[in-house]
């Protein structure tokens, strides 16, 4: 489902010249801030073992800053490395992070939840024309055909609130909003049809918990779904427990998830998890006019009470 492999449109190449500029800027800035002691480590991307791939990298030596890159293969949301899930990273001191617009929203959310402090991180924002979807061939250049689904409807290509923004945005060809179309298709279903759709999707879940491990907002050290006294969610991959897990996940992310779609990217069973996230985000926007992660916020609509809150959902 995740696949950009559904070749919906003829593949038009996307101008990727900005990635080289961004790579240069990241390298220069990383070397500078490591050398002058502004930060003790930089979380970024470096080239992967196979050509055309990348992997997250933590650089502590200014001499190694030259190995940092930015390319359409930089899919990971590095915000994850600043949460309690990666304690060893956080312990290093003040850290710089390379952040695309979508990653930036996760950082803002984490700041609002007291997980990171703005003054303790240095954000190297990068403009981003999009990254590749999971079905893309490594050697292929970025095209409208192999672009990740989330990038087709991106509203934050130039990040805001970063310490520095690297690169300038090229103009993009028109993109089909695949995910919005899929959302509309689900919305048009009857509740019974929709239930059947998700039941089928969740029945494939093997409870590998990759979606949880990769999510920057799943930073609890003890997930309630792993508890057994009392057990709220059955832990084996059976239909009832699967359904419960995914509903818990969606509810816990409501008003928090900023839509980086990492859960969907890492799902080995190709469950369209970001559709659920987007549905929750849509509800938040319709009910409270709220969008997660646009700026660090002390209180979101679900943790505050206002007299004029929309109560129409109470029936």
């Amino acid at each position: 489902m995740n696949s950009t492999a559904q070749k919906l449109e003829t593949s038009t190449p996307i101008d990727t010249s900005c990635y080289a500029d961004v790579t240069d800027a990241i390298r220069k800035e990383a070397a500078r801030i490591l050398a002058d002691g502004t930060v003790t480590a930089v979380v970024g991307y470096k080239a992967g073992r196979r050509a055309g791939t990348t992997m997250p990298a933590i650089v502590t030596d200014p001499a190694e800053a030259g190995g940092l890159i930015f390319s359409p293969a930089c899919v990971n949301n590095l915000a994850l490395y600043l949460t309690k899930a990666k304690k060893d990273v956080v312990k290093k001191g003040r850290i710089a992070i390379v952040a695309k617009g979508c990653d930036m929203r996760a950082l803002a959310g984490l700041m609002g939840e007291s997980q990171i402090k703005r003054e303790e991180i240095f954000i190297i924002g990068v403009v981003c024309a999009g990254v590749k979807g999971s079905g893309a061939v490594n050697s292929e250049p970025l095209t409208t055909g192999n672009l990740a689904r989330k990038c087709r409807e991106c509203t934050v290509r130039t990040p805001e609130g970063a310490d520095l923004v690297a690169g300038t945005m090229p103009s993009l060809p028109e993109l089909t909003p695949v995910e919005a179309l899929e959302m509309a298709r689900l919305e048009a279903m009857t509740p019974a049809e929709r239930w059947a759709f998700w039941k089928e999707q969740f029945s494939r879940c093997v409870r590998c918990m990759a979606c949880r491990q990769v999510c920057p907002f799943c930073y609890c050290e003890q997930c309630l779904c792993d508890k057994n006294r009392p057990q709220a969610v059955e832990s084996t991959p059976r239909p009832a427990g699967n359904m419960a897990w995914h509903i818990v996940r969606a509810m816990h992310l409501a008003g928090r998830c900023a839509g980086c779609a990492e859960c969907e990217r890492v799902c080995p069973m190709e469950i369209p998890l970001n559709l659920l996230n987007r549905k929750m985000a849509l509800e938040m926007k319709e009910l409270y006019g709220f969008e997660a992660g646009l700026a660090p916020q002390e209180k979101g609509p679900l943790s505050s009470y206002k007299e004029d809150d929309d109560q129409s959902f109470i029936k």
């Binding site: 939840e113 007291s114 609890c220 050290e221 003890q222 997930c223 057990q231 816990h252 943790s303």
Partner: protein
Amino acid sequence: MSRIGVFVCHCGENISRTVDVERVAAEIGKLPGVALATDYKYMCSDPGQGLLKKAIAEHRLDGLVVAACSPRMHEKTFRNAAKAAGLNPFLCEMANIREHCSWVHEDREEATAKAIDIVRLMVERVKKDKALQPITVPITKRALVIGGGIAGIQAALDIADCGHQVLLVEREPSIGGHMAQLSETFPTLDCSQCIMTPKMVDVANHPNITLHTWSEIENVDGYIGNFQVTIRKKARSVDMDKCTGCGVCMAKCPQKKIKSTFDRGLGTRPAIYVPFPQAVPNTPVIDRENCTYFKSGKCGVCAKVCGPGAVDYDQQDELITEPVGAIVVATGFELYTINEKPKGSPIKGYGEFGHGTIPDVIDGMTFERLASASGPTGGKILRPSDGREPKQVVFVQCVGSRAREKGISYCSKVCCMYTAKHTMLYKHKVHDGQAYVFFMDARTPGKSYDEFWRRAVEEEEAVYIRGMVSRLYQKGDKIVVMGSDISVGVQVEIEADLVVLATAVQPRQGADALAQKLGISYDTYNFYSEAHAKLKPVECATAGIYLAGACQGPKDIPDTVSQASAAAAKVMTLFSRDQLEREPIVARVNERNCVACFYCKKVCPYGAVEEKEIRDRQGNLVRVVAYVNPGVCGGCGTCQATCPSKSVELEGYTDEQVMAMIEAL
């Protein structure tokens, strides 16, 4: 294995009429862990409690379920009984099979089955109950009284006389409130000022009372026994320590034509003023909106003539924070302004009565000022328009009150009596005058009240017309009052010289905002709500806050004073102890699992969640976690519902208990 005792109450016939209590006891007796299950006619009675106490010892019970009424009714009763028998009181729970079952069902078979389910759930909960110890918190033996009218004055004096410190906060420049504005008081016609001003002086001189006039409540934090109150002392522009109250500044102030609110706009006052000559404290305030110096920077006469140099134009509002243990709210009332519809209010105005447009249509309080010896006319009844003595005066009762279609359905309680008083005062001052009263019915329950009213009708010859006024209009220098006399079924028209409207008593503007700061509840009209209409008439549902006077509902002076003394008694009861015991039904954080997202802190309505630093032996910060202050926690469980990692739980309502209850269903 638990040894739980279950006691099923008949509640006379309240429960046993619809629920087969014997069968409930028999079924529950079969459950594992239940050592005893029995039924009794009145569990809350002395023999019923005796049964429970005896069973605890005989059957070595380690948990109790009393299947009876709502825990709001008798939880305390049975927990005390358990405690007396040596069992931790928090191992005793109630299963509500009356309000939740017998009272709301008719079918005996189904009601019995439901009762069995309810009791079974509670048995599962009690199995996992923990023995809890009550939380003790210290009490700050210092009271705050908000409002310096007769209610606030009485409460402050009573508490202070008992030896406790009192802070009295008044919004206006002087204490005294509405009672200081009244001429004479019913039913004895004694002069209001004569009985009021000595009390005001007592307040000023009392060593235990700190008076903050021209001050407002900015913020209230904390909880019973331990409130932190921030008071905004508005800039007076006069140094209270230096001012001697000589009054030269007021005499010399060139700006003298400002309408006096104390005299309901009939008299005037200077820009530097005390509201009335007997004001306490007798220190003037500069009305910055009308002062020439503040408007244009020129003048400064008051500063020049002030001998002690007390006038200080640069004074700023000052915020002070004071610890108090109890709060008495006595913010009083205001009269309904009927000519205009209050903004955002469902209350409709009475444009047809011409109040505000016809100068000789006044309200009851304005008439009080006309009749007062210290009023703008020196006690002569004179028309505001031309200063002539009115020969025919029409009084209209229930203007605004008891008018559902206009938005207020309640009775303002004092108008029948004060209108009767007004007719007498008028008759005493204008011997050849005639008073007419339009009324729906005369409500005179009170000691010597009906006699007073009858005197107005029978001896002082006020003409009472049963009916309502439909319209008022100016005709020459007369006001034509059109109404109906329903006792004889005719339309009446009276050409009056003066019309006095007994307008509805309403809470003060901003009463709702203050309630929100205090965390107390209020009704649709913004009157503050007592905890129980009959049995807790002066307590608020929020512990440690008490009500006195008309802020809770329309009241006359005797009722107000009684309630103020009652509120003071409640405060003194609280202060008679050194420590306060609170139920330990509070949230506790599992610090091992807490990830410090502080969603609990964001949603806590009590402000009970704090950030706690955990440090190692060298003092290095290991982690930050949430901490629930048990003294502040109200036990609502919102944090428990919000916590994503389920790291905070409410004692007695843990997830384990709730899940066990669900599984028992």
